[in-house]
């Protein structure tokens, strides 16, 4: 407690291991910012934290509507956490609609903080309440703190001279202050954030700071809260940490890759949810050799990235499902011309426009097979927001070393979710091995490297290596246009073999947690990592014979996968689609693979997966 505004509290302090909190309100209530600031503050205080922002695709949906509710959930703890949590210890509902749509996730006896000032007759009606839930006894199973946050915020910030409407917009910081007081957190980092964020609008800076302090003071003094909770720092490896979300980590990984490759990064992108943040992030770093171009469409974005790759830069594009669909022909050209290129697909629920802000893992088939002709590419998937950095870095490294397009499958959950990240030492990053051009007299555009089968990357501007390349089939030896039947077959097989050999450049498969042999192996990929890990860890601790394997490489599969699968009686693949990885594994390994699927635009809950694991292991025995 270093801040003079923080009223000393004599409430008893209870030590707990962790908590799951969700802030929910109108999409214009600043809920996302509140959640981000809370996660940042607890991370800075040394807790581990996992977050789940969940918001509608409307920017500011009509106030008070059920579909306009925005939420931000986080779990923070004194140990490692891998998911934002299944059910809530605390729900903060800033309006009636948020209460209506989120209450079912609150644990029995959980703390409900609700803005009673936002439960007027009209608002209740809009949210579908016939009676006021504060009065009809429907909340009796919870610990209810009904506070007129709207009025208290307005009163607190009036002296600053903000209008009523502007004052109302400080409500999120008032609420944040309140929750900080319950969890015994310092306001310092948030106050400095406010000062920085509203530098050009000092009135707002002052208003929000006052609201934050007022909410804190209310929590400390109010009889509504009998105790405060203390959650100790999680044990960590020493080093410098920061909180990072998936899209930022991915952007940094791409930049790090191009800097370490000693090449310019050229991004072609067209704005699309939930990938636009990568375009915006990369646009900031021109001084690091990054040229981010907002193209006229998704196709141009892919083509310009490929053109840049041809000219010797690291060509990148970032998009989501509908954009991936448009890029398929350009990716096919990248396969045919064997140029390095990284395509980021931040997946969202589909088909077509689908649910633009909700996560799904339904572009796996598209990434692995979604092109005309046989056009294999490397497909990678990060498991956590922070891992987006390493996977993006590796994607650049593999693309260049193997002269191939690499697709990264992220998703809306990884994109917006945040966690503490051990800032890597740039000097310790894996070194790039770039193969020198062959002597001019030996050069042909298809002269392959013996180990990787990669062709030489001779870029325009390099004297003596002038050559033509394109989408037509090329002669295996000379690289010139060829329609020879056997040559075509050989080229198709060679391009496939080139991708298969990337497995030599990936870490071997390993068990994440749980048994390394036994009854049931649960395989996952991408953002389901946390739920699967927690489910397996908990059940394994209770004596269930279950292990967790998580794939980062989806094409090719990493070495050792078959051996691990065969060490278990049964294999269950858990994923956010109708069973795409399960199908790919069945096709590749001819195994009877079970599938756990969820297609609701929401992450897998630990408890629902645990139920299935128990059922599978009981069935098996």
């Amino acid at each position: 407690m270093q801040n003079e505004s923080e009223v000393p509290s004599n409430k008893p302090e209870i030590i707990v291991n962790g908590a799951v909190i969700r802030f929910a309100g109108d999409s214009g209530d600043g809920v996302q910012l509140t959640g981000q600031r809370f996660s940042s503050a607890v991370a800075l205080a040394g807790n581990d934290v996992a977050t789940l922002p969940d918001f509608p695709s409307e920017i500011r949906a009509p106030a008070g509507t059920l579909y306009g509710v925005s939420g931000y959930q986080l779990q923070f703890a004194s140990k490692d956490v891998y998911t934002p949590g299944d059910s809530l210890d605390v729900l903060v509902a800033l309006n009636a609609a948020a209460l209506q749509t989120n209450l079912s996730d609150l644990k029995p006896g959980g703390l409900l903080v609700v803005d009673s000032g936002a439960l007027g007759a009209a608002q209740l009606k809009k949210a579908g309440y016939a009676t006021n839930p504060l009065e009809d006894g429907s909340l009796s199973g919870y610990q209810v703190a009904a506070i007129d946050i709207s009025t208290l915020t307005r009163k607190a910030v009036t002296p600053v001279g903000l209008s009523t409407k502007e004052a109302g917009r400080c409500k999120n910081f008032w609420t944040l202050g309140l929750i900080f007081s319950i969890y015994d957190r310092s306001l310092d980092t948030t106050l400095s954030f406010i000062a920085q964020q509203f530098k050009k609008k000092p009135q707002f800076a002052e208003g929000n700071s006052i609201a934050l302090k007022a909410g804190y003071a209310f929590g400390a003094a109010s009889e509504l809260f009998h105790q405060r909770y203390r959650i100790a720092a999680a044990p960590r490896n020493p080093g410098l940490y920061r909180n990072i979300d998936g899209n930022t980590a991915l952007s940094y990984g791409l930049i790090a890759g191009s800097v370490c490759a000693g090449r310019h990064l050229v991004l072609g992108a067209y704005p699309i949810t939930p990938a636009s943040a990568i375009l915006q992030e990369l646009s900031k770093h021109r001084h690091l050799g990054v040229t981010a171009i907002q193209a006229e469409d998704e196709i141009a974005a892919a083509c310009l990235a490929l053109g840049a790759a041809y000219a010797g830069a690291v060509g990148i594009c970032c998009t989501s499902g509908p954009g991936m669909a448009l890029k398929t022909e350009a990716i096919g050209l990248a396969v045919a011309t064997e140029l390095p290129m990284v395509i980021v697909d931040v997946q969202r629920a589909g088909p077509s426009t689908g649910l633009p802000t909700k996560p799904e893992q339904s572009d796996l088939y598209l990434a692995v097979h979604g092109r005309n002709g046989e056009a294999p590419v490397c497909v990678l998937a990060p498991a956590t927001p922070a891992e987006c950095f390493t996977v993006a870095y590796d994607a650049v490294r593999i693309a260049i070393r193997h002269m191939t397009p690499v697709i990264i499958l992220s998703d809306a959950y990884l994109a917006h979710g945040a966690e503490p990240w051990l800032v890597p030492d740039v000097d310790q990053l894996a070194k790039f091995e770039q193969i020198a051009l062959p002597p001019i007299e030996q050069f042909t555009p298809m002269l392959r490297n013996d180990v990787t089968l990669a062709r030489p990357w001779a870029s325009p501007g390099t004297p003596g290596y002038e050559h033509r390349i394109g989408g037509l089939e090329k002669d295996y030896v000379t690289g010139q246009i060829s329609v020879d039947p056997l040559n075509h077959e050989r080229m198709v097989q060679t391009r496939a073999e080139k991708i298969a050999r990337i497995a030599d450049d990936m870490p071997e498969c390993r068990i994440e947690v749980g048994a390394s042999q036994g009854k049931l192996l649960v395989i996952g990929w991408g953002s389901t990592y946390g739920s699967i890990r927690e489910a397996v860890e908990q059940l394994h601790a209770k004596g269930v014979s279950v292990g967790h394997l998580h794939l980062r490489g989806l094409c090719p599969f990493p070495r050792g996968l078959e051996a691990i699968m065969s060490a278990f009686g049964r294999v269950l693949v858990a994923e956010l689609n109708s069973g795409q990885l399960a199908q790919l594994l069945r096709a590749k390994f001819c195994l009877d693979i079970k599938s756990f699927t969820k297609i609701q635009g929401k992450p897998i809950r630990t408890d629902e997966l645990m139920d299935r694991i128990l059922k599978e292991s009981e069935d098996y025995s």
Partner: protein, 342 residues
């Protein structure tokens, strides 16, 4: 990798590739290739700094026949590929070859954005008013009612005019010539090469297999003078046998009217004088309808504006002035905390 290249000594031979040229014998593309090969050695650009980019179509085979760097890409997307090439290496001399289908139908969007950005590339659009490589379907420049394999009862589409499209999209250099024009085509290509920014050249090209004689009245030696308006900067707009016709401004319609110069004994006093820097004149010339009026050939419009590459360079300079450290500084930006060793 630096090698001293005697660019001044480059000849046509240095630019001719060893690939067999696979266009139909008698195709207009041969004439264009030979004119291009005349111009390239004159430009004093090292061979390795040329990149020829194309999409799909007969014209898009062009890069294979020039011994520089070349990228035969996908249908309509050459301008987007070229944008990436120039963003990665602005020093390259990038030439696009496209056709009426590739450039104005499937790739119209990219061409539009190439023009408005003023990307420093040369765009050669071979207009034969037909789809050749797919064996004779109507193209976006085919005349209304054109009967083809895909329009047996005549097409229902009105044609787009490449020159008006380019001017409308803000192209900074717009010119027209034709496949067999020889010295005229060479001269137009030379001008295009020297222009900084997007240089657009429409080249009327005969596809004698699927749309023979599409431009016969314009290119045939016996009718050429009556139907060609050869533009020269600072010179009056005259044409016809013995320059017996001229073009003047019609103040009543803000349009152009024909003048019989024999009446004024060959005086050109009241005729319009060609000014390449006038966008309004360029629009007027581009709007002349054939065969009532002649087809303008040469440089219709040329204007010097900052290129896309100039803008990128400017942004880079700005960014470097305000740069806040390198990669390591970026990674540890924001709110960080140190976990001490236990």
């Amino acid at each position: 990798m630096t090698m001293v290249v005697e660019t001044a000594r480059l000849t046509q031979k240095d630019f001719a590739s060893s690939d067999d040229v696979r266009w139909c014998p008698g195709c207009g593309d041969y004439g264009i290739l030979s004119s291009v090969l005349k111009v390239l050695p004159e430009l004093e650009i090292p061979k390795e700094n040329f990149v020829w980019v194309s999409g799909i179509g007969c014209s898009s085979r062009f890069p294979y026949y020039i011994d520089t760097y070349g990228f035969h890409s996908i249908h309509g997307r050459a301008p987007a590929v070229a944008l990436g090439i120039k963003a990665a290496n602005p020093k390259l001399s990038v030439w696009l070859v496209t056709g009426d289908g590739d450039g104005l139908s499937i790739g119209g969007n990219h061409l539009m954005h190439c023009f408005r950005r003023n990307l420093d590339v040369k765009v050669l659009l071979f207009n034969n008013r037909i789809y050749g490589l797919t064996k004779g379907q109507y193209s976006p420049t085919s005349e209304l009612g054109k009967q083809t394999g895909s329009s047996p009862f005549g097409s229902a589409d009105r044609p787009v005019d490449p020159i008006r499209f380019a001017l409308g999209c803000g192209a900074t250099f717009v010119a027209r010539s034709y496949d067999t024009a020889g010295a005229h085509l060479v001269d137009v290509l030379r001008r295009a090469a020297r222009h900084r920014g997007t240089a657009f050249v429409e080249i009327l090209q005969n596809c004698h297999v699927f749309n023979d004689a599409a431009f016969e009245q314009i290119t045939n030696k016996t009718t050429a003078s009556a139907n060609q308006l050869r533009l020269e900067p600072g010179k009056p707009l005259i044409y016809g046998a013995g320059n017996d016709k001229g073009l003047a401004l019609d103040p009543a319609t803000l349009g152009i009217s024909k003048v019989d110069t024999t009446v004024s004994n060959g005086s050109t006093k009241n005729l319009l004088v060609h000014d390449e820097s006038s966008p309004i004149l360029a629009q007027c010339l581009a709007s002349l309808s054939f065969p009532e009026y002649p087809v303008p050939l040469g440089v219709l419009y040329a204007n010097s504006l900052p290129t896309y590459e100039d803008q990128l360079h400017h942004l880079d300079t700005q960014a470097k002035e305000t740069a806040r450290g390198g990669l390591q500084a970026l990674l540890k930006s924001g709110q960080v905390w140190q976990v001490p060793a236990a």
